[in-house]
Symmetry: D2
Subunit: 316 residues, 4 copies
């Protein structure tokens, strides 16, 4: 079986299904919400978790039709759909207070999604402390931090966030992060929510790094968007896209399979070449757009009865 | 007695001395180190602390001769002098690990000093964990964070840092912050170190906000540089600088005293006007320069036997 | 007579009127447009131009009610009003092509208004060259540049823009710049349009620096917003605001006049102190907001029958 | 013959040589300068120019040993070597004035090399105008501009720069730009100088776009550094690096040639996939480093008898 290298549960599921692998313990459902296609993957057994390379839990994927999100209604529908799915996972009470965490390195464009989302959130926890009488009903106490990455802080992100949650004691944590996908056409167009938090190096079992209910003591919802693919993946994609004439000219086997090709390349290519990242030319722009959708989806989920105008007035 | 509004102990001392106030419990000494004038103020009694508007402890002031720090040797001497004074306050052992905290809002230029310093520090704590064999002797474990301000995070900075120190358990904390001074010519040219930490709203006694040995459980050294003055202060400075003819034309009392004038203005001017801040035109540039001096002074204090070239190679 | 130091014609007019100076050759009218108060000053004679310290021409001032521009309709009304006034000054034909110029230094927050506005404009000139068939009717060819300031380029801005206009040959030029005002409450709330271009050091007669019809050969409309005041002005404002008790305590003459005080201070205060600039604490935020209003006012003026959604879709 | 897609003359030469193509009219020489390997390619005939896909002229390549440039002497040697090669191409007199142009889009990290270099240059032309007596001998008048790209300005860069040179009349122009290479290991480590300027879409013959002696009327020296490769190139590189076992597993022809593979892929892969760019993960950092080498090489070439300390004092 090919080893699965993707942060998206839906891609892991696709790969297993294509490979005709038996995957009892995984259920998959699809639906459309506000015009946005939604997929829900539920991993129920430990065996399925191991096969999928993901912890047991709920994984929800939203697919944005268009990178441009030019039309106002498409953009608003994406925010509404994200908000509803997020509310279903968060299960907040009226008084719940939430900590949002923007993971990633703000100095590296494709890794800056988390910090970019966080700076567009409606931060209100301090208002509940200092001017409780001036806050509209439905505005929950929300706080946020973008701690930076290991190379910048010298601290595991898990350590920093555990320290903050121990002091602040939120009722839930939302972590936002940039993901890697295995398909070029998911970049900036797919949003994944899950209730399993973030487990970097999942296979390694390094508990200091994980951000989940087990390590933080409260529910942890992760929101992620693929922003890069790796050099091996684009190679497999290009070979698969070369067509019959191209494949023949390259001397490729006629039954070339991109997933197998990817697995082969991971094993045979020097590490130095694997370190390259592949992004669309306009990655800065794409991340600006999708970060606004994610931020406002979260804003609409955390605060009740607010409008886009309320958010604009609060944030800008 | 005029109320003292300055973050600098040396200015508070000057004001009291000028006012001929009795200040037993405060000693003051001056010295030159690497060509840099150093002043040391020691506040020993509670009574003196109250008069000075500062907690009991050591306050060290370095005065950079020139904003430009153009010549290489002046710049390096400033770093060396800062490093030596910092080492004297920190009293680290060879194995001490240190957390540096950059206070302030990175979106507001004159408040961004702390974050700017932190991003120029040699962060090494993670290397002690992951590649201990590859670290030169003398390189202590250093970690750092710039948590952001209340309006950005919704959390008191003291809460965030207390959470982080509880988890990371450093042997000492260095906090870097932009200060307010009462004199235009101290902006970006004065560096103050103290062993009393930071106590925002010192008179108010809000413990959640303080960053000091009492709240964090370890020694806290504060490093600050004045980057702004307030509108009231520039007004008093301008009036005092108007000269005899100017004062007469303005109808000012001939014995106008800027400190009394400042106190009067604080009481009589509407709050909206007090909210203006005054900076030199080239404040962005000045903060870039002084933040490099502060960062490298800290780097030289925390790591033994390193050169400026080592730092450049590590940071850039 | 006090020398007039303000970039705003309306302030110059107020000062002259207050001083009861005779100002034949200047007419002033007021109106409300989309709920926005508009003032129009017309300087018709050379004598009036000299008294006002401004070239002969039309000066239009819009006053935004609120810094926050929180409500969507207030913001849109400000854009619409600006667009209509701009169209009246520009007198474009359907085929006119326009060059927009963002003046100022993008590294200094209060001076970055011009570059910030320019980067939010709908740039379309290249589309008319490369994909003329795909452009909607009403979209005029618009190009733009933010040339940087003398210290960054080593070239007078006038030289750079004259070179570009000689090659590009636009039908009109719009220059956007940050201004100085004499009143704190105009910062980020007042937008001035004029058909006289920009004449830095107007009194000096340095033609290389001016950006106007005479130097560029085409109509030049200037759009400006006050973003700073100087230290002398805030001093005069604070003294005037000190009230009776404050004035008495300061020893100020009971008939203290802020305009005369300002003039006196300009003459008596050392230049080093005059170099300080005064801004609101949240100047970064204020400039972001007002630059969006200016940019979209220009967008609505230059392109026909477009909506805010069209602009968002095009720009972001 | 495979079509050559590289901005580097040295790569074009290698490809032709490997392909055993006859290339009379091209000479190649190698040398070491300050410890930096230098290659010089001279294209002398029109026929050779066509084969190489580059205009007739001199192309000089410097190869930096190490991405890190950690040691001070390596960094300084790279600057000195670049400065000497640049002086040889520029042939300035003592009074020559030079315009530097930073090409590329400052919003897209790997395309921001030109603007980043320009902002580290010693700009002095305005000092020769305003304070000629205070300038040290040997400091030539240098001005600079980063005009932005077509999508930002709506104007061809060639148009903007032609307008500026017509007004400013420099004796020489230096254009700095990010390049594409065909080899991953040239990214940020190779600097190419040439005296043929920049000819985007060289085959197309679009004169409005070229920046060279023909279009600007003065010598134009181009300085470029590869910062990206395209998705097709990384694919060919990965396949070539897959080794015997990998190639067999992929079903690749045993005599797979990466240059032929690249040519085949360009023809067979959909354009959407070709639009991806490939960079090292730490591209932001790499560009910061190499831009400092390029800037200071230019500074040392344009101004006589200056030291690195002089530059630091002037720039920062």
């Amino acid at each position: 079986m090919t080893h699965i290298r993707t942060d998206l549960a839906i891609e892991a599921h696709e790969m297993l299904t294509e490979a005709a692998a038996e995957i009892t313990g995984v259920t998959m459902a699809q639906q459309e919400l506000h015009g946005i296609p939604i997929s829900r993957v539920l991993i129920e057994s430990d065996e399925a978790a191991q096969k999928m390379g993901k912890p047991r839990g709920h994984y929800v994927t939203l697919e944005l039709k268009d990178l441009n999100i030019a039309e106002g209604s498409d953009y608003e529908n994406a925010c509404f759909a994200l908000a509803e799915e997020l509310m279903a996972l968060l299960k907040l009470s009226d008084k719940s207070n939430v900590l949002a965490v923007g993971l990633g390195n703000w100095n590296i464009t494709p890794d800056a999604l988390g910090p970019k989302v966080v700076q567009q959130l409606m931060i209100t926890r301090h208002l509940h402390t200092y001017i409780p009488d001036q806050i509209d009903e439905g505005i929950r106490p929300v706080c946020a931090i973008s701690p930076g990455v290991l190379g910048i802080t010298g601290m595991e992100t898990g350590e920093v966030i555990r320290g903050v949650t121990d002091t602040i004691r939120p009722d839930a944590v939302i972590v936002v992060d940039a993901l890697a996908a295995r398909s070029t056409n998911r970049i900036s167009t797919t949003i994944q929510l899950c209730d399993t938090g973030i487990s970097p190096g999942a296979g390694v079992g390094n508990k200091r790094k994980a951000l989940n209910r087990e390590t933080l003591g409260v529910p942890v919802i992760a929101v992620g968007v693929p922003t890069v693919i790796d050099a091996v993946t684009i190679t497999a994609d290009l070979l698969a896209a070369a067509g019959e004439a191209g494949s023949k000219a390259l001397g490729l086997a006629p039954d070339f399979d991109p997933d197998e090709g990817r697995a082969t390349l991971w094993q045979s290519v020097p590490e130095a070449l694997q370190q390259f990242i592949v992004t669309p030319k306009d990655v800065d722009l794409l991340i600006d757009r999708v970060s606004k959708v994610v931020a406002n989806g979260i804003n609409l989920a955390l605060h009740k009865d607010i409008t886009f105008q309320d958010i604009d007035a609060y944030i800008s």
